[in-house]
């Protein structure tokens, strides 16, 4: 990861098959209450030939995040690597961020493990929150902090077709660029096809 790395998700809709592996992996990894969808798979024109496609959506960790701009209590913060996080102790659950978000990412639990009624919950890119890294409190409020452990976020790690890619935006775009460039160029097999991670 370079000094100027900015972490991004990308979902290749030509590969997404609406298997929901990402949403289940997310829910299991963070022990989410049923009904909280930090990530969801959206399918458009279901059942219509030539039109149906699916895409996995969560917080897009925007560079100029609208949620951060509209938050009346300023609970959001953007890490140096671009991951957009928020402080649940500061959040008042007003829902402004939900109106501002173009992707419907903010979730508002009413009960369950995340305790405080109505405080906003969203994808953390598996990077936890402002609490001490990998502390019990961080885990309880924000779920796993896989990034701190050097692990890929649970959703992308689970993706069965490698449709969902996450990482430094330059790496993400390189992977996708290679995918596009290799179209129709023939199958990759040993000794050329060793780069397994996102092929």
């Amino acid at each position: 990861m370079s000094e100027y790395a900015r972490m991004k998700f990308y979902c290749d809709e030509e590969r997404c098959i609406e298997c929901n592996g990402c949403t289940i992996a997310c829910a299991e990894a963070h022990d989410l209450p049923v009904g909280i969808s930090r990530r969801k798979v959206v399918t458009l024109d279901e059942g219509i030939e030539g039109k149906e496609f699916s895409v996995s959506v969560a917080c897009m960790h925007c560079t100029d995040a609208p949620c951060e701009q509209v938050c009346p209590v300023d609970c959001f913060y953007i890490r140096e690597d671009g991951i957009v996080l928020h402080d649940k102790d500061t959040c008042i659950g007003c829902g402004y961020c939900l109106y501002a978000c173009p992707f419907g990412a903010p979730q508002f639990p009413r009960d369950g493990a995340f305790g405080t009624k109505g405080v906003m919950d969203k994808c953390t890119m598996c990077a936890g929150g402002p609490e001490e890294t990998n502390s019990d409190k961080e885990r309880e409020l924000y779920g796993q902090n896989r990034i701190a452990e050097g692990k890929v976020p649970a959703c992308a790690a689970m993706c069965s077709t490698s449709a969902l890619i996450v990482g430094d935006e330059q790496e993400v775009s390189k992977i996708y660029r290679e995918r596009v460039a290799s179209r129709g160029k023939g199958v990759q097999t040993a000794p050329y096809g060793w780069d397994k991670a996102y092929t």
Partner: protein, 752 residues
Amino acid sequence: MTNHLGDIQNAKAIIIFGANPAVNHPVGFGHFLKAKERNNAQIIVVDPRFTKTAAKADYYAQIRPGTDIPFMYGMLHLIFKNGWYKKDFVKNRVYGMEDVMKEAKKWTPEKTAEVTGVPADKIIQIATVYAKSTPGTLVWAMGLTQHSIGSSNTRMAPILQLALGNMGEEGGGTNILRGHDNVQGATDMCCLSHTLPGYYGLSDGSWKYFAKSWGVDYDWLTKRFKEKKWMNTKGFTLARWYAGVLAGKAGEDAIHNGGTNLKALFVMGNGITSIAQTAKVKEALDNLELIVLADPFVNEAAVLTDKKDGVYILPAATQFETSGSVTATNRSAQWRSKVVEPMYESKTDHDIMFEMAKRLGFYDELTRGMLLKVDPKTSELKQVKKTFKWPEDATNEIARIIKTIGLTGWTAERLKKHQENWHLFDEVSLRGIGPMKGEYYGLPWPVWTETHSGSPVLYDIHRPVAEGGMGFRNRFGLEHDGVNLLAGETSAPADSKVPGGYPEITAKNIESVLGITLTEDEKKRIGKNWKVDISGIIAQKCMEAGIAPYGNAKARAKVWTFPDPIPMHREPIHSPRPDLVKEYPTYKDKPNHYRVDTQYASKQGEKDWSKEFPINLITGRLVNMNGAGVETRASKYLAALSPEMFADINPNLAANLGIRDGDMIWIHSPDGTKIKVKAHFSYSVAEDRIFLPMHFAGHFQGEDLSDKYPEGTRPYAVGESANTVTNYGYDIITQIPETKGGLCRIEKAKEV
């Protein structure tokens, strides 16, 4: 699969009949997508429903359920007419294609369109693309098999591949996607009622071979049966065991079971609602004396039955609490390690069986085979130890005995080495590097010897036998109707000592076919033929000569012992097209079909079913569920994706019936059963059919059975079982139920 999942990346065209890998094999489907991206492979989906796989396809044909044979004949019509078939291949490696050509002549695009419901120009387009994009792989699953003509369907597909010369090619083949973990292994190891393990038949010769290999007395084995003839008689199948209980009641099919009905049922990890006719299954459960259900979860059989006594639930351990080999869909073995010891009071499946055997008094006989080894000097079986080590000794026993599908090389030691060296294999070719060089991942069978490479692509004559090459098996004699059944010139595997076809190898013909002379010692030790040669001499000599022990013959397009020697279209037992039932009627009734008298013509001709039941009914799976859903419905997150049972219905059909999205509807079957489910609008189904997911249980004909689950075991999602309304109808050879093409009537449920 003749090939393997990674090999699909080599395909230039992928045609999928009655399979939905994007939903049922999401990880494997990655290979399909890579073939499309990198290889410009044309994906063609032929399915009654616009599936998630169809959403990724280049061409889609919405076929009427049960008309795959006409569709494939329609393709062959054009392939033969335009000379697109591989003439050399057909001449040298196929028997009986002339009869197929004759039948294909009848299936013009127009005729095919009339029967299948697919427009003629689409049939022409698909046939053209598929014939011209070689190698092409043909994929199927239950959508092709679960029909009264399922066995013909599964012969038709290879015939199409043979005509195009797609068999034995990388990127080609017939690739059947197995539906569950280790289904291939379960089949290989004979969770079947008509063979012994490894597809050895039920003849005395097979029994004697196994008696010897297990180290038990043949007469003792014989005495385990009521009379000796039952050793040579097929048993009941999973599809129709219920008939064995219900026979004798009014309206039930008669059975041939030694004068007695079935009285006890022992279930190990089978979802009982995953086969057709749940109402009959329930009635059978109610009438049994004893039900034992060994399962990590509460098997729905316990909930479905009204029986109060004699129902036992044994907590079985999961796959994480045991170890051993499982067989993947492509014939590869994978070794699994135990993650944790069996939790609480649960026991592994094999421990449950061992305890049963102890109490039934044959534990020693059951386990003795694990103590034996072939003496390399004398080729005699010898007891080499006093106690066995599970599962290694079981794996080694399998390797020692099963020659038919070539499991000789599957020793526990080798399989573990493959598990430990995953990273040294290429996903597309399965080839190993470094210490695994010369082996294919998981040693796909046949693995003829303890040092053989495994065979990633069946019937591939481009490689030497020692490196996984082979022709077609010589299984059905040397000639038929005066035609030589052995393969023609130029069709021997690479580096073969014999240029063309040759018979399966026996002690008698080995010297003449291989052109060798055996020593006196070898002559003394060699077994009668390659299937029972425990000395390993036949396999070893064959490898040296580049010869496949099972011979090199022609694939047969014509099976002269079947009711339809070449596949013929026959309408489903319950067809929406009475006009076509007249033209393509089903078979005559079949007596004693796996011990049950089975109705075909009499059921189909009972009345015009389509008048009362005008809607086609198809079933299938959801991505978040598995089998009968016993396990997956008990996961809160998976259950949340499909919390209740539903039916996909086309909005136009629904609107005509006054049904709105989300309304509860009744679905009635010709068998007099019904289920109450939620209507889910979807354009993925045509206006003449509905789709039901097959994973639900816990409701029965409108009644909620939730209170029958033992406390704390009710799954998060319960609902009606689709199979309560799947129709009567069974395949003529295999007896698989006809769940992918029946009829129903739907109506809006009155609000309570």
